[in-house]
């Protein structure tokens, strides 16, 4: 049944189209502005996907950078070392190699998410946070020790396939996915799990499965963001995906108000731009950043950009 019922999909199509147009016009933009803009898009993907886990489902993961690393390395290997073997498969369409690499990177990250999530998700709160932090660090150490992907030095000369279309197209799909998952009777289950696991279970919700879905989907998009990041920066190394990177993403989610779509997107934009602006302070950058973080927690722990009530979806179910 077409018409207004599928309005959300129309919005998604329009966003994809806009990403294409932006790409078409991008040669008029300054390359610095362009790379900051893509950084913004990648951070929106990371923050929205973590929001699915930490915000909507109420599970506190501190390992998002680990899944990002899995996606980044997988995609970079596919477009780099394995490109000669893969290119014939795509025949004349070499441009399809990049989306293929991104999706495979996302899938491998999703598998990693499943492997990490399956044992850890019965833990709660701080304990879950620590275990995911631990897994994130283990992923980092493994990459540090695998010579095939450059060990501690990482991978270099990754082709710069990332552009406005891929970045913002993926951003639109991520935001749509998280939004669509939440806005359905099935999806209200994520929020129910976050509110009260015992009650959710008593209402017949398989809470473990819900948490796994959130974790795997979240890891999938983190992996894609990793692939985009690798093909934007042209080089990656394990220490770029450490605990501090995970914290950065967590801060975006908290700043935006956990479990809010728009707030988290705005926070991702704000923090990316702020980080760029702080660069001029050189060594003071991280000191200022950490002080802002503390001040924020002391004054607005519920998030900087929040509305009083989580918008009800009961008036309309689309």
């Amino acid at each position: 049944m077409p018409g207004w019922l599928n309005r959300s999909q129309l919005v998604l199509a329009a966003a994809l189209l806009a990403a294409g147009v932006a790409q078409f016009l991008s040669n008029r933009l300054d390359s610095y502005v362009l790379s900051v803009a893509m950084g913004v898009g990648i951070n929106i993907i990371l923050a929205s996907s973590l929001n699915l886990i930490n915000g909507f489902t109420g599970q506190f993961s501190l390992g998002h950078a680990g899944f990002m690393a899995v996606g980044a390395y997988t995609a970079a290997v596919l477009t780099g070392k394995l490109a000669p073997q893969l290119q014939p498969i795509f025949g004349g369409h070499v441009e399809l190699l990049f989306p293929f690499a991104l999706i495979v990177g996302g899938l491998v990250a999703a598998v990693a998410g499943g492997l990490v999530g399956a044992p850890s998700l019965r833990l709660k709160g701080d304990y879950l946070a620590i275990v995911t932090l631990g897994f994130g660090e283990i992923i980092k150490v493994i990459f540090q020790n695998v010579e095939y992907v450059g060990g501690a030095k990482g991978l270099n000369a990754i082709p710069d396939y990332s552009n406005l279309f891929w970045v913002f197209g993926t951003t639109a799909i991520t935001v749509y996915t998280v939004w669509a998952l939440m806005n359905s009777t099935y999806g209200r289950g994520f929020l129910a799990v976050a509110d009260d696991e015992i009650a959710a279970e008593a209402m017949g919700l398989n809470t473990t499965r819900y948490k796994m879905v959130a974790f795997v989907v979240g890891a999938f998009f983190a992996g894609i963001a990793g692939g985009l990041f690798a093909h934007l920066n042209n080089s990656i190394n394990p220490s770029g995906f450490d605990f501090n990177k995970s914290i950065e993403i967590v801060v975006m989610v908290i700043l935006g108000g956990m479990g809010r779509h728009t707030g988290v997107i705005l926070a991702a934009i704000l923090l990316t731009v702020l980080t760029e602006l702080l660069r001029q302070f050189g060594d003071y950058r991280m000191v200022i950043y950490s002080l802002l973080l503390i001040l924020l927690m002391l004054t607005r722990p519920q998030g900087l950009l929040i509305w009083p009530i989580r918008k009800s979806a009961s008036r309309r179910t689309t």
């Binding site: 833990l123 620590i130 631990g134 283990i138 973080l293 722990p301």
Partner: protein, 301 residues
Amino acid sequence: MTELLQQVINGLSLGAIYALIALGYTMVYGVLRFINFAHSDVFMLGAFTAFYSSRALGRWGFAGGGFLGGLLVLVISMAACAVIGVLIERLAYRPLRKRSTLTVLITAIGVSLFLQNGGQMVFGVNPKAFPNIFPSQTFKLGGLVINSNQLVVLGVALALLSALHWIVQRTRIGTAMRAVSFNATAASLVGIDTNRIISFTFGLGSALAGAGGVLYGMNYPSIEPLMGNSPGLKAFIAAVLGGIGSLPGAALGGMVLGFVETGVSGTRWSTYRDAVAFAILIGILLFRPAGLLGRNRIEKV
């Protein structure tokens, strides 16, 4: 055989340092139920306090390198860290007393980032050679190599552990600490000033971390502002391993971690040292979340 003994000695002195730091994590968790991420940076500040104070003492003509001088440096570092710990709690954590754990956890991470980056600005990024604050000598027993610093580490750690045990078990304030960690609300109902106890706990834990920093500096002769990360993580794992909230557990966990780490370092898997530590952490959390010496809690429905 000699090699094994050598490993045991190295493991003991590393484990003792981990134990000292782990105690701070576990004590704070006991009274406030949150993980103080900034604890490892207090440890770093302990090492730097020792570095600067031993220099200053030397400049004032105080014979550096003597045993008493060393003890003085240790005491200064512990006192400075106690003050820093109390300040951190007062300024950053106390205003959040009624907020969610998540908020406090993020704040703690913020404090940690602040201390590390502030440290890099104040002390510089480059590693500094740690001075010989105690007279140092190397003994050879058969094939064994023992540095007198290792003995000092063990002696100091043992003395501090006993002192802590005495404070917690025998003094009024120690009893109050145990009461708060058992049930903070009930403790405040019977007239215990919980804020004062929490301050004291932070002071005590931070002093131990400070001592740990000094001892670490003595054994690993260079120090830098990010030096807290790795030992901090290991000590935290030690605290969880022993059963977070349990003091003997933290001491035991520290020792286990020390031995595991020296053990792994001797093999070709040495680059996986940190991964092994994390694997232990994950294993414990998944299979025995209460830790080796902790108690299970049943969730009330």
